[in-house]
């Protein structure tokens, strides 16, 4: 379980997160929605320790993340980045097995490669792509490799940052299905941030909406359609009129 309490973050005079409280149960798939610049990515980066919050506490399974050593803490997470963020200088299998080739989880090279090929297979890629470099892959294939890397060390929590951005609708559907099946198969907790409502409906158990750094609403995916919250209704139906102004 991930618990976030009173999380605040400012950049200069701009308050990006304002007292965010959020709970994600173990094995749950939470999707955080909200417009651009509402603090979704910063929230994710605060949980991962990539950005230091100004105030508040984040607990993983009851333990404040500040009490864990950084390596132990990060070993429990996997992340799929918006642009996949694959390392250009490494081959596909070396990207997937990155964590297994160095550090405390280090395995023999042959074993790491075998695990990488297995994870690639899990995301629908054959062993023939293992020795290619990221620049030789399409956007959809890069996302799959990024997903394989995120799950390579069997993490407890997986983050997805705009997983379908830049993909055609069919490939977006494939990625959504993969996320759904992999997360439930692994029993992992998933936190996804996205604007894509088809992604939300495909992968979410629960949904939280951030607007201007404030958590406006949280509920399960069925409640999202019936809530009277005007921010949620405007966002999910993509209306220009409403409390959310288009010009930010």
């Amino acid at each position: 379980m991930i618990e976030i309490e009173g999380l605040r973050k400012s950049f200069g005079s701009k308050q990006v997160l304002r007292d965010v409280n959020l709970t994600v149960k173990r094995g749950e798939s939470l999707v955080v929605i909200g417009g651009s610049g509402t603090g979704k990515s910063v929230l994710l980066k605060c949980i991962l320790g990539l950005v230091t919050p100004d105030a508040g506490e984040i607990r993983l399974e009851g333990q404040p993340v500040t009490e864990a050593t950084r390596e132990d803490f990060l070993a429990r997470f996997g992340m799929l980045f918006q642009g996949a963020a694959l390392f250009d200088s490494l081959s596909v299998w070396q990207n997937v097995a990155f964590r297994l080739l160095r550090g405390p989880a280090k395995r023999p090279k042959a074993e790491a490669r075998a695990i990488a090929i297995d994870k690639l297979k899990r995301v629908g890629l054959g062993p023939e792509v293992a020795d290619l470099f990221p620049a030789e892959l399409s956007g959809g294939m890069q996302k799959r490799v990024g997903l394989a890397r995120a799950i390579a060390a069997d993490p407890q929590v997986i983050f997805f940052d705009e997983p379908t951005t830049g993909l055609d609708p069919i490939m977006a559907g494939v990625i959504n299905d993969l996320i759904r099946s992999i997360v439930s198969e692994m029993g992992a907790t998933a936190i996804t941030i996205t604007h894509d409502m088809s992604s939300v409906r495909a992968i979410a158990d629960s949904v939280a909406m951030l607007h201007e750094g404030v958590l406006r609403w949280q509920g399960n995916v069925a409640e999202m359609d019936t809530t009277s919250d005007p921010y949620v209704q405007q966002f999910i139906h993509g209306r220009a009129e409403g409390p959310i102004t288009a010009l930010r």
Binding site: R70, L74, F81, A85, L86, F87, S89, F98, R102, G103
Partner: protein, 259 residues
Amino acid sequence: MIERGLASLGRVVLDGLAGAGRVALYALTVVSHLLRPPFYGREFLHALMQIGWLSLPVVGMTALFTGAALALQIYAGGARFSAESVVPSITAIGMVRELGPVLGGLMVAARVASSIAAEIGTMKVTEQIDALVTLSTDPLKYLAAPRVLAATLSVPLLVGIGDVIGIMGGWLVGTGRLGFNSATYIKNTWEYLEFWDVGSGLVKGAAFGFIVALMGCFYGMNSGRGAQGVGAATKSAVVAASILILAANYTLTEVFFSA
């Protein structure tokens, strides 16, 4: 008016000091990573190849033409007071003490600081640095430490090879154009060259290598967003490395050779 001018000047000075402090802290952190495991041998070897081996042609060509031009200049200057015979020794001393390390360092700065800053800056804007962190890997240890170590070790070697090539450039011009006897030229080169002439140049090379890689990594990691941010980081890395090389050269010359 004067008050505003002084305030602006004060801001510039304070910003400059803060920047120097950030670079110093960054340098200390990188050095501390060099002393603590884990060590990334593969990344070190890759950096050694990129920084050392692949810089050899540009450093060699620079040294060759510099040594040749230096021999011509010393001959022309020496002829004014009938001291043409000093060409071999002054060319050699000039190359190994000053021109070899400084021009070699500047050429490596142009080639390496820019490529390191552009590579790491691009990694930053494409979230590869964040990805490293989430994969339990310290970007300073994985990206900066191997590059800084590789540059610190390989630039002195480049300078040494450049010294030899530069002296050869002088010899080519001396024997081919200025009428020196080959054996006399070589004898005069060796006779007046002392160990510390060469050693000081190699120490300078190590310092310049450290500066080049450090500036490339520092500006790359602090790159702004987008293509413009990476471009600005690249430019800043080369400018800062070049100026620091010239400043360090003066300081080291004072330390090594002031009476």
